[in-house]
Subunit: 156 residues, 2 copies
DNA sequence: TATTGTTATACTCTATAACTATA
DNA sequence: TATAGTTATAGAGTATAACAATA
């Protein structure tokens, strides 16, 4: 197929070794598949990430979710409205500060999150199927580093 | 720092091992730096990639550039107008088909591309400084695979 | 005075439709 | 009829400004 010619052009132009170009296109391709998987659950990637955070033991406020997701607080409003409309999360007034809403996943929220999470895990496995376990960890580790997310990794 | 709490939340929510989430944020952070570097040359990432393709030995048509870059042909028009305005590329009528323009980099186009390319290479080295040579190749290879760009493999 | 959540609005990026000139 | 390039426009995604309630 003609794909090969295209790829040779990208290589010849030096773009195939440029991190910015390669990570951009990889992100586009991966997100296409993520979007497709989450569509099956009536989610966008934003809905999913917000729901995942709402499922945390330490339920976050809207402000915290917006910060964690680098999302403008005003954008979060509609996302939460939609999740709340499906009764997947609840807004609950903070006991300490009556300006802030604490976002809690409902039971069905937890359930839907688990289902979506398993589907995404399957996609992950498929995307990385050509890599060994060590290589997977290296890839994720390198991406986390580029993303400036440094989590204390305790592997054993 | 509070960053640590944020990162722990992302990990706790399972997002720190989700390829889609991690690659999205990595892309955002990397592109911020790429944009900043290219700004110094009066470029956007699109200008740079188009110029790089125009520098290829086999000068591409607009249609080809649009295809290679997954860019709508209508968007390419302005990008080329701007590059041509700076006399970095020229539109030349194809000898075979008078509908198509062949995009050729000018001498100063080649020069500016080389300069920008070196600056990006430096950024690449800095971004990947914590990785050994083998690990770098694995990372780039994995990203190319996710990007569905298979260059080094010629199977038949 | 500053902050949380909200609404309305503006801006940017991208996709779509229609046009011209060639094939 | 179909295609390359162009223009104008519409849409999605995102950012900005102003507001009410609370601190």
């Amino acid at each position: 197929m003609n794909d090969n010619h295209e790829n040779l052009m990208l290589k010849e132009a030096g773009l195939a070794t440029e991190v910015g170009f390669v990570i951009s296109r990889a992100k586009t391709q991966v997100l296409k598949q993520v979007d497709h998987v989450l569509e099956g659950f009536g989610f966008t990637k934003h809905h999913y990430a917000v729901l995942a955070l709402a499922c945390s033991v330490e339920a976050p406020s809207q402000r915290e979710i917006a910060t964690y997701m680098r999302l403008d607080p005003s954008r979060l409003v509609r996302i939460l409205d939609e999740l709340e409309g499906q009764e997947l999360v609840r807004r609950e007034r903070s006991a300490h500060d009556r300006r802030t809403w604490i976002i809690q996943a409902t039971d069905s929220g937890h359930q839907r999150r688990t289902e979506a999470s398993m589907a995404l895990q399957q996609l992950n496995d498929n995307l990385l199927r050509h890599l060994g376990e060590t290589q997977r960890q290296l890839l994720i580790g390198a991406l986390l580093h580029l993303a400036e997310i440094e989590v204390q990794v305790e592997q054993r």
